[in-house]
């Protein structure tokens, strides 16, 4: 205001040039989620209107993210610093190809989950706050993908964590409380480790802005404290991403909440951990990334194998899919371990594929589980005769999860194997392929037992199961269930047949991670 009076040079501390209105798209997803959360919270007693308002706001969120996506597509990395403060002082929001792609996919999954929930979540649980928690979860996820400040990333992690607690105990059964307790304790310890590492990093570099950290850590080189901080970050994010020795909270909790909540968690939560690993290890602390290369490789291999072996040993399909999520995390870690541009491209594409495929799988078994009242593979069966279209859709999803062409899981695996072989890591490439074969065995069994055979265990094969009664009726799939599934499967198909667009995006994202020039330039305006 009265700067001239005092002789203080405002331009040294604040941005003086005008901000383009398009840059506001950076904060729009977060603001919109807050508005959505508040509105649905006020409307929580009006169970008829609340889902409609929620779904339309979620649709608006997808459109906003599309707008941001187009903005980043045209102009490269974009930045807005809160309150006009010059970086690195203000909290920056920075969107690059990686962040904006994941934010877009996350909002689409959020919209589809919102639609599915309108038909599957009981009115009492809607009053208890499904939609407000969904919005706060998406707020945390979008904030985490779009922020350019590491402490702000921690805050978004906590936002999504506390809303995930709310979603997890929705329904308030003994099973859920048991699962939620383990989930909550281990995830809180994970984020606290993140906070410890951030405190130490601030003590070391004196900055929290990601672009500034990227510059200063590169200038510092291989210093001992930096490597220690990187190891702490790896442990913290590996916990969030469910990598091998610290992943037991996932199979303990993912089968306990409502199925649409499981679907959201399987799609989004672990991928936020992977995103943070990519952002922090590759972009911010490359010295630590190089130093831990061997460790990450071992963790990736063990995660892939234990994930898929765990999946083989489960009778509950929800737990099987939970273990498949873990196995997929192993594949993404393999990309991070190799660290070349091709491998990182593969890891980013795999993250997108995994978000879509794992959400869709949970939604499918939500339909069969609601119909049969069980998720046990021994008690499922006979679905093919009653719902051939749904069975075909499931087969597509399961093929996509294995990584067969022409579905979205194929190209990321090609890139990952290619990247691992180019880096001379034949073992890693071999493990990716071995894990795919074991996944094929797992999902083949799921499909044969739950869909193909005549009926549940005890009914002799070939007798076509029960001929009369509700068991023989065609399965009625409500509109709110098949629409999200159809959209997800269409995307999985499309990304398998036309992967060039996503590949180009992921490549840009990987390039920005490895070479931070564009990122730093966007934050500081000029090349420093």
């Amino acid at each position: 205001m009265a700067a001239t009076k005092t002789g203080v040079d405002i331009a040294a501390a604040m941005i003086t040039h005008p901000t383009a209105a398009a840059d506001w798209l950076l904060v729009a997803p977060v603001l919109l989620c807050m508005v959505g959360g508040a509105t649905t919270l006020i409307l929580r007693k009006n169970v008829r209107i609340q889902p409609l308002v929620g779904i339309s706001l979620l649709a608006l969120l997808v459109l906003t993210n599309l707008g941001l996506f187009a903005h980043v597509w045209q102009n490269g990395v974009v930045t807005m610093v809160m309150g006009q403060w010059l970086p690195p002082f203000g909290i920056a929001f920075t969107a690059d190809a990686l962040g904006v792609t994941l934010a877009l996919i996350a909002s689409i999954v959020g919209l589809l989950a919102g639609i599915y929930a309108a038909g599957s979540i009981a009115a009492s649980e809607r009053r208890y706050g499904f939609y407000p928690f969904l919005f706060m979860l998406l707020c945390g996820v979008s904030g985490a993908f779009l922020t350019g400040d590491i402490f702000n990333l921690y805050v978004w992690f906590e936002v999504l964590l506390i809303s995930s607690f709310g979603l997890l105990v929705l329904g308030n059964t003994t099973l859920q409380i048991d699962g939620a307790l383990k989930y909550a304790l281990l995830n809180l310890i994970g984020t606290t480790l993140f906070l410890i590492a951030t405190g130490l990093l601030y003590g070391l570099l004196g900055t929290l802005n990601m672009a500034d950290i990227a510059l200063k850590s590169r200038a510092l080189g291989d210093s001992g404290p930096l490597l220690g901080i990187s190891a702490l970050y790896f442990l913290a994010f590996a916990m969030k991403a469910a990598a091998f020795p610290v992943n037991f909270w996932l199979p303990a909790s993912y089968h306990t909440p409502r199925i649409v909540v499981s679907a959201l968690f399987a799609g989004l939560l672990t991928k936020v951990g992977v995103y943070a690993l990519l952002r922090v290890l590759v972009l911010l602390l490359p010295a630590g990334h190089n130093w831990m290369h061997g460790l990450i490789t071992v963790v990736a291999i063990v995660t892939m194998l234990t994930g898929v072996l765990g999946a083989l040993a489960q009778a509950d399909v929800r737990r099987t899919i939970g273990y498949l999520v873990i196995s997929g995390i192993g594949s993404m870690l393999a990309g991070i371990a190799v660290g070349s541009e091709v491998a990182l491209t593969g890891a980013i594409m795999y993250a997108v594929h995994s978000i879509l495929a794992m959400t869709a799988l949970f939604l499918i078994f939500g339909i069969t589980g609601k119909d049969r009242g069980t998720f046990n593979l021994r008690e499922l069966g006979g679905m093919y005769r009653r719902a051939p279209l749904l069975s075909a859709a499931t087969l597509i999803l399961l093929f996509a999860a294995v990584g067969l062409p022409p579905f979205s899981g194929f190209w990321p695996k090609v890139l990952l194997v290619d990247g691992a072989l180019a880096a001379g890591q034949g073992w890693l490439a071999g493990t990716i392929l071995l894990a795919s074969i074991l996944t094929a065995i797992t999902v083949g069994r799921i499909w044969i037992f739950a869909f193909w055979r005549g009926g549940p265990e005890g009914i002799a094969d070939g007798t076509q199961g029960v001929e009369t009664g509700p068991e023989a009726m065609p399965l009625q799939v409500p509109f709110t269930a098949w629409l999200p599934l159809a959209v997800l499967i269409a995307m999985i198909f499309w990304l398998g047949l036309q992967p060039e667009g996503l590949m180009q995006l992921a490549e840009t994202g990987a390039h920005t991670l490895l070479d931070p020039t564009a990122y730093v330039q966007s934050v500081f305006g000029v090349t420093p």
């Binding site: 901000t19 209105a21 840059d23 904060v27 603001l31 508005v35 309150g83």
Partner: protein
């Protein structure tokens, strides 16, 4: 705890504490204080009223459900971020409205409204937790 003295004094104490919480909220603009701490003071006021006169009395006194208070605070906070959009500035840049009312210079600013939003969020969220805990004790 439920003595006559306490029951008689509690409403006055609550009123005083609420007034003080608003004072702390507005003082926070230039001096120590602010929305968060002001909100906590207001919550303790409601908690005292709840201990003395029962949770139902507090719910009646609040009129709105505490969660709706929190939600409206969130909306207010989001709204206070937006004005700088129309001046081509970055989000959360503070905007000032200065005018004179009855010979008193008044300066309104967006950070103040953001702080009021924070105050309402804290009041709403923590009051609903506190009230549900007090309810549990009685049954």
């Amino acid at each position: 705890m439920n003595t006559v003295i306490f029951r008689t004094v509690a409403p006055f104490l609550t009123a005083l504490m609420l007034l003080f919480s608003v004072f702390v909220l507005l003082r926070g603009h230039n001096e120590p204080g602010g929305g968060f701490i002001g909100g906590l003071i207001a919550v303790s006021a409601f908690a005292i009223l709840g201990i003395a006169c029962g949770v139902a009395a507090v719910r009646r006194a609040l009129v709105m459900h505490p969660m709706s208070v929190a939600a409206s605070g969130l909306l207010l906070a989001v709204a206070s971020v937006l004005p700088s959009l129309f001046k081509s500035q970055a989000a959360m840049t503070s905007q000032w409205l200065e005018f004179t009312l009855f010979d008193t210079p008044i300066a309104l600013s967006t950070p103040m409204f953001f702080d009021i939003g924070v105050y309402l969020v804290v009041v709403g969220a923590i009051t609903s937790i506190a009230l549900s805990l007090e309810e549990r004790e009685s049954d």
